[in-house]
Symmetry: C2
Subunit: 252 residues, 2 copies
């Protein structure tokens, strides 16, 4: 994975105070002018410390409790039902949400943010519902990821822009928002990604994914903002691409 | 080119009265509920009648008047400047705007609508600024075009959805709005294409292309709404894809 430098202009300095504690919903903060940050690629997690890795037992033979019984799952299933359940079990440990497979950390949801802050210090965090995710050097060759965090509504969201060649000879960009939270919590939010150019605008609106699901399936299904290098060039400025990101709560 | 049948549901019957005369701007009509039509592919122009083909002289040798002098161009250019000018000369005859190369008709801008009405009778026209372009059978294999006309603001717009394999093994859809008018007239409008699905929305906003420019260059540069078959399936209902199309005037 290449690692672009983080040299673009910044409309506001990334906030340096610690983000609010996760999982504590509060009233939406008043709308503020969008903040912006330049984003470097997610670095390999060479210093990842499994500070709070969950105890994971091996899969049991036959029927009975699943492998995540020790972390809280109380379901008893026939062994044929287990593989399907294990994929969606909410007690399955959370993997490090950084894109790319370099960081092998796993742990509880509550430990994810402290893992990111300790092992992936280079990830910028911006506060607010409406920010600019500025990916620098989008012309870097090969597969590249840009990652940043956005904090609002008492939650942390991970913004990911991934460039990869899903089809040979055809590089595409995939942009998506993940909630550092459960699938059920993610349902309470909506996000909008917007590229703005010269009399052109491309917008994708959807529900954030939980980091429990990760980005791979969404990219496989194109269930995110997808655009090719030609579109990226229509919207980029000097090799840097600004994506307006807006998070909102939704009432269901 | 395959030719999908036009069998989908229709929210409103396509308007059967003749569209307003082109090139006669009038006040925007009041907003009305979006109309919808099922759209068949553009048929091959086997019955195309060059009713008003312009007189086209051959390119002259050396300097002097260009090939479109007889149709109104008064420029005198050196022969090295001619090829470049000929591509953008507004007196260059208009080709039939139907996608696909089957119809060879050429003529003046004023003759385009009468050509379409006589030679491409199967193209549906809907009145209004805000309509639904319902493309049926989007799963048809191979390269397919869906075409319809939208009339508003005293102008005719051609809506095109094209499925093609720009990159081998990777089918993509390209949707775009063309003005039956000059490049200069097109600058006065903006269009929005919107796919709406289950808690997802994909939107493209841009300036219509003039039919003088055609769709090929826009598709080549991805300067249109581009999405792959996976995204099409996220938004399609039973193989039919509804695209909300909104045209607006813009003040510059």
């Amino acid at each position: 994975m290449s690692r672009p430098s983080s040299t673009g202009p910044s409309a506001n300095k990334p906030c340096s105070k610690p983000p609010p504690p996760p999982q504590t919903p509060h009233a939406p903060s008043p709308a503020a002018p969008p903040a912006a940050a330049t984003i470097s690629a997610a670095g390999p997690g060479s210093s990842a410390v499994p500070a709070a890795a969950a105890v994971i037992s091996g899969p049991g033979a036959g029927g009975g409790a699943g492998p995540y019984a020790t972390t809280g799952c109380s379901l008893t299933l026939h062994h044929t039902e287990k593989p399907e359940h294990e994929d969606i079990c909410e007690y399955r440990p959370y993997s490090c949400p950084c894109p790319g497979a370099s960081c092998k950390w796993q742990g509880s949801l509550e430990a994810v943010m402290s893992h990111l802050m300790h092992a992936h210090k280079s990830i910028t965090t911006l506060q607010g519902e409406d920010i600019v995710f500025l990916a620098t050097d989008i012309n870097l060759p090969g597969a590249v990821d840009w990652v940043m965090m956005q904090s609002c509504f008492g939650h942390h969201f991970m913004l990911v822009l991934e460039k990869q060649e899903k089809y040979e000879g055809h590089q595409q960009f995939f942009a998506i928002v993940l909630l550092i939270g459960t699938r059920k919590q993610a349902e309470n939010f909506a996000y909008r990604l917007e590229l703005n150019g010269n009399r052109r605008r491309l917008t994708w609106e959807a529900t954030p994914r939980s980091i429990h699901d990760g980005v791979a399936a969404a990219i496989m299904n194109s269930d995110c903002l997808v655009f090719d290098t030609a579109i990226a060039h229509l919207f980029a400025d000097n090799g840097n691409l600004g994506i307006n990101v807006t998070i909102s709560t939704c009432c269901q």
